[in-house]
């Protein structure tokens, strides 16, 4: 359990600094340091188990078994080493950052992101499940993005953060693919088991793909060529971030993964040539570019790239001794590079600039800083008796007897050249900043920094010197155990000492030092050559690539999504035709054998009517009223067709909805032009006609093919026909399905209908205020109006029709369960008769007569339906279980009522009824209100124009509102 705590403590503790910053900067640092320190101590409790007894503690909790993701952690030598580096150096950085950050920097945020990063990094090294490792991997990319862009007001910070996230994120995607393939091939996602299955993985056909994908991921994270360009841009981060992430820990994550998967992925050909070559190339390129940097942090960034290349190359050599050299260099590089970055931060903080052209002679003003810098830089150069020398010696030794494509000279030569440049830039750093004469034009007055800034690097320097002087005591057993953990075998017999005898490595070191001194002396000449050479600028290329990709996406988007309805329909239909046509053409097809129904004359006439009226709509769509009339005819004959195939409920619904639609369209057509202009070109219309014809042929053909075959699946009608009466209590199967068998669906639908009505209301309410209202009030209609507003004939007829229509509606409602009808149709009948009153007597009068709000009807309807369902739950049944019964009432006054059936579905239908009335009336009433606000409207209070029951003189129209 406490292994998981090591990861969780910094993660959970990351909120503390963000909160504690309110108590001041010291309490912020303390609250950040405490979880980190606790995690570190927990980690150290595992040291005896791992290093002295050789066991590897593990914990595991199941999480998502179906994708192989479990929360599994383990501690082995490699993980322990890396976790110690992360947590230990992290503590030093926490203290360093306290003194480094200015008063106006948001320190709470900084420590929060830093702790999240720390937790994610520790999660990577301690994770035992590759998918869990990927989660932490992406979390480090994300927290690194936040930390690089910490000074978000600087454009360099934002661009550097974006570039880092893009490159490492893209690498993470490749890595995820590689890791998933690895898990599939090895048949497990647990790392401790994967690394025991070398033959299985290497003999698989996926091995090269897995290797390449994992290498892409590791190389992007560890800034190897050609993915190295993001690291110098990331130097826009504050220096503590650069010291922690981009030298000691995050960039080592890629190397960690290479070391972790070394046992299964390494071999003599593919692994060696890819990893070692890239590592060597990176080492060389990084070292050469580092020499010519003017920015201190840029120089250190390129030197980090170079050293990472060195470690990669050593891992690529695929021999145990090389692995131990790599492990040793990881430890050493972390110590001296972090110290150097902190040193660069001190110089920046004190002298006010990081530019080598403006620095020099600081040794006399900042002696302590100069001492730290010299020790660390000489270790970076590889001078004895410091730890950098020891690991560089081991590397040179290994390189001197490694053959590359049968040549024994290539690798040693290139490595020596890289070493020459590394000595050169290290000397340039030290002597460029600290040697020479004191200048008079520093931006600030440099002096030695406060203790918070200089004793963390001093602690690291102590390690540098101690490992350098007595490596056999301090480091040898550690290196051996970690190497054993990496190669999953006995550790090789290595001895870390300063003098191994006169080996080729010593010669190469000597050449390196000599050559480095020469380069330093010739620096000005070399710099002139360098400035003349054309150099590709990575940021420029990256920005150009991103801009080109964005432009391409924008072009596609502007074509498909240009705001025109016709374009959207065109794209949809064209894509559907293409896909369906391709699917159709891939399989053989044949007509079915079901016999056709007989064709009679009325059917032909009906067909002509439907097709004819549709053609009329399509041809005359610009004459809008004509098109609306023809549309009504289409709807009418669709419902006649429904009656012919015995879908009577459907026919009734179709007719009612048709009328409501016509009324709605006429309400809005008042405000629109009655004739529209031709809107597209002739060839466009021809193209769209062909597309429509093709889609119609496809759809009709498919329906024909479906209808003429006997389906292999049974139709659902058998079950419903058999069970409607016994299960639902009614003989109208359609209605029983709607309110009983599929009652939950209907419940959802009336809720949606209610929401739609309310949405229409809300949207139209916006028209009744502000700029739109003033537009509406100035609007004058474009039709010539006749004189009679509310003719008395119409008023009387509709008034008489109202109770009759409501009677018909209730009749349809009550009989719906057994004969065609139901709540929906009844509701539409009642709402249409109500809107007739609006039409006959005007909005002003009718609105006054309605005593209940339509919103309440909608809500009430949904509540009634829900109550019916919940009533079933009260009786310990599932929601919406229906109940039906029938009883025989006694004879009353000689009348025999017969058998009366009752079903709870009627209450549900009542809910549907109320909701539909509410929604339809709300929409129609709101649309009608629009007409009352125009320029020439006068809202009336009387129901008809001239009321014979009142005297002539007392009639008046109320003034315009």
């Amino acid at each position: 359990m406490n292994i998981a705590l090591i990861v969780l403590l910094p993660l959970l503790g990351s909120v503390l600094p963000a909160l504690m910053i309110r108590s001041g900067r010291n309490s912020c640092v303390a609250s950040a340091a405490v979880p980190s320190f606790l995690a570190f101590s927990l980690l150290l409790t595992h040291v005896p188990a791992v290093f002295y007894f050789g066991t590897t503690p593990k914990v595991s909790w199941p999480w998502l078994a179906s994708i192989g993701l479990h929360v599994e952690f383990w501690v082995d030598g490699l993980g322990l080493l890396f976790a110690t580096l992360i947590l230990g150096i992290g503590l030093l950085i926490l203290i360093y950052a306290r003194s480094y950050l200015a008063a106006e920097d948001p320190m709470g945020n900084f420590y929060c992101y830093l702790l999240i990063f720390q937790a994610a990094m520790v999660g990577i090294v301690l994770s035992d499940n590759v998918i869990l490792l990927m989660m932490f991997w992406e979390l480090t990319s994300l927290s690194s993005f936040l930390l690089i862009g910490f000074w978000s007001h600087l454009p360099a910070g934002r661009q550097g953060a974006r570039m880092a996230l893009t490159v490492t994120g893209g690498g993470g995607l490749a890595l995820l693919a590689g890791v998933l393939l690895l898990g599939q091939v090895a048949d497990t996602y647990r790392i401790s088991e994967i690394i025991t299955r070398r033959e299985l993985i290497q003999s698989s056909e996926w091995y090269p793909t897995i290797l390449m994908l994992i290498l892409v991921g590791c190389f992007t994270k560890s800034a190897q060529f050609p993915f190295h360009f993001w690291l110098p841009r990331a130097m826009a981060a504050p220096t503590p971030v650069s010291a922690y992430l981009h030298s000691a820990t995050m960039v080592k994550a890629g190397l960690f993964l290479l070391a972790r998967l070394w046992p299964v992925l390494q071999n003599d050909h593919l692994w060696f040539y890819s990893v070692a070559s890239i590592g060597l190339l990176t080492m060389l390129i990084g070292a050469i570019i580092a020499l010519f940097q003017d920015d201190l942090k840029g120089l250190l960034a390129y030197s980090t790239i170079s050293h990472l290349g060195l470690i990669t190359m050593l891992l690529g050599f695929a021999t145990p001794v090389a692995v131990s050299a790599a492990v040793f260099h990881i430890i050493n590089h972390a110590t001296f590079k972090a110290a150097l970055f902190m040193n660069a931060g001190i110089v920046d903080h004190e002298a006010g600039t990081r530019d080598l052209k403006r620095l020099g002679g600081l040794m006399w003003l900042m002696p302590v800083t100069a001492l730290i810098a010299m020790v660390a830089a000489f270790s970076m150069a590889g001078l004895p008796p410091l730890n950098g020398y020891l690991s560089k010696e081991m590397m040179l030794e290994e390189a001197s007897h490694t053959k590359w494509m049968d040549s024994k000279q290539v690798i040693p030569t290139l490595v020596t050249i890289a070493a020459v440049f590394s000595v050169a830039y290290s000397f340039r750093y030290v002597f460029g900043v600290f040697a020479g004469r004191v200048r008079h034009d520093y931006p600030h007055h440099p002096h030695d920094p406060p203790p918070g800034l200089w004793w963390p690097p001093t602690l690291l320097i102590v390690f540098v010197i101690a490992i350098g002087l007595r490596p056999d005591i301090v480091a040898e057993s550690l290196v051996k155990s970690v190497t054993a953990a990496v190669i999953q075998d006995q550790a090789p017999d290595i001895h870390l000492k300063l003098w191994h005898g006169w080996t080729p490595a010593v010669t190469m070191s000597g050449i390196a030092v000599g050559g480095g001194v020469v380069l330093c002396l010739m620096y000005l000449l070399l710099r002139k050559v360098w400035d003349i050479l054309p150099r590709p600028d990575a940021k420029f290329l990256f920005d150009a690539l991103v801009a080109a990709l964005t432009r391409g996406c924008q072009l596609i988007n502007d074509f498909v999504h240009n705001g025109s309805q016709q374009r959207y329909i065109f794209m949809t239909i064209a894509t559907t035709i293409a896909l369906a046509g391709w699917a159709f053409a891939s399989y053989p097809w044949a007509l079915g054998e079901r016999p056709q129904n007989p064709i009679t004359a009325p059917l032909i006439v009906g067909w002509i009517l439907v097709i004819g009226s549709t053609m009329l709509v399509v041809i005359n769509y610009r004459n809008r009223l004509y098109a609306l009339i023809a549309l009504g005819v289409v709807g009418l004959f669709s419902s006649i067709g429904f009656v012919y195939v015995s879908g009577i409920d459907l026919a009734l619904t179709q007719v009612s909805v048709e009328v409501v639609t016509i009324i709605l369209m006429l309400l809005t057509l008042y405000f629109l032009p009655k004739h529209s202009q031709p809107e597209s070109l002739n060839w466009v219309r021809l193209r769209d006609a062909c597309l429509g014809i093709a889609a119609g042929i496809g759809m009709g053909g498919m329906s024909w093919l479906m209808m003429t075959r006997n389906w292999s699946m049974e139709s659902i009608q058998g079950y419903f026909l058999a069970n409607a009466k016994s299960g639902g209590g009614g003989t109208n199967v359609v209605n029983v399905i709607l309110v009983d068998f599929r009652g939950f669906d209907t419940f959802g639908e009336i809720t949606v209908l209610g929401c739609a009505g309310l949405a229409i209301f809300a949207m139209l309410e916006g028209l009744f205020r502000g700029k739109l209202l003033s537009k509406l009030q100035c609007w004058k209609p474009d039709v010539v109006k006749t004189a009679d507003r509310h003719p008395i004939l119409m008023v009387v007829v509709t008034r008489v029709l109202l109770p009759m229509a409501i009677l018909v509606g209730m009749f349809i409602f009550f009989r719906g369960h057994n004969l065609p009808g139901g709540g929906f149709i009844a509701a539409l009948i009642v709402s249409v008769s109500l809107i007739m009153q609006y039409m006959a007597s005007g909005f002003g009068w009718a609105a006054n007569q309605i005593r209940f709000k339509y919103h309440g009807l909608i809500g009430g309807g949904v509540l009634v339906a829900a109550a019916t369902g919940i009533g079933a739950m009260v009786g310990d049944r599932p929601f919406l279980t229906s109940w039906h019964d029938h009883w025989h009432p006694p004879k009353f006054m000689g009348i025999d009522f017969g058998d009366i059936e009752a079903a709870s579905a009627m209450a549900f239908d009542l809910g549907v009824f109320l909701t539909v009335i509410g929604a339809v009336m709300l929409a129609l009433a709101q649309f009608s209100k629009l007409g009352t606000l125009t320029a020439d409207s006068r809202v009336n209070q009387t129901p008809m124009d001239c009321d014979p029951s009142r005297s002539f003189s007392s009639q008046h129209h109320s003034p315009k509102h």
Partner: protein, 89 residues
């Protein structure tokens, strides 16, 4: 005998429907088209009743009833639109 009468009625109603749609297509102005649509609905009502008589069931009666009610309402709406523009004033 009844069957013959029904077939004859079908023929007559079909002819009437075709003439209605012809008027819908030709009618020089909107009022003619509204009249054509209204007559169409009445003729289809008759068709439904005939179908009910032929299949000897009363199921289709309510459809015809509703058709009658709704056609009246839609014709009134068209006419108000032509006369006043704003159908609900």
């Amino acid at each position: 005998m009844m069957q013959l009468a029904i077939y004859f009625c079908y023929l007559a109603v079909s002819l009437a429907l075709l003439m209605n749609i012809w008027r819908l297509y030709i009618g020089p102005n909107v009022v003619d088209r509204v009249m054509a649509a209204d007559t169409l609905v009445i003729n289809s009502m008759v068709l439904l009743i005939l179908y009910g008589i032929q299949t000897k069931t009363t199921l289709y009666f309510e459809s015809a009833l509703l058709l009658a009610m709704f056609s009246f309402i839609s014709t009134v709406a068209y006419c108000r639109f032509l006369m006043r523009g704003d159908i609900v004033e």
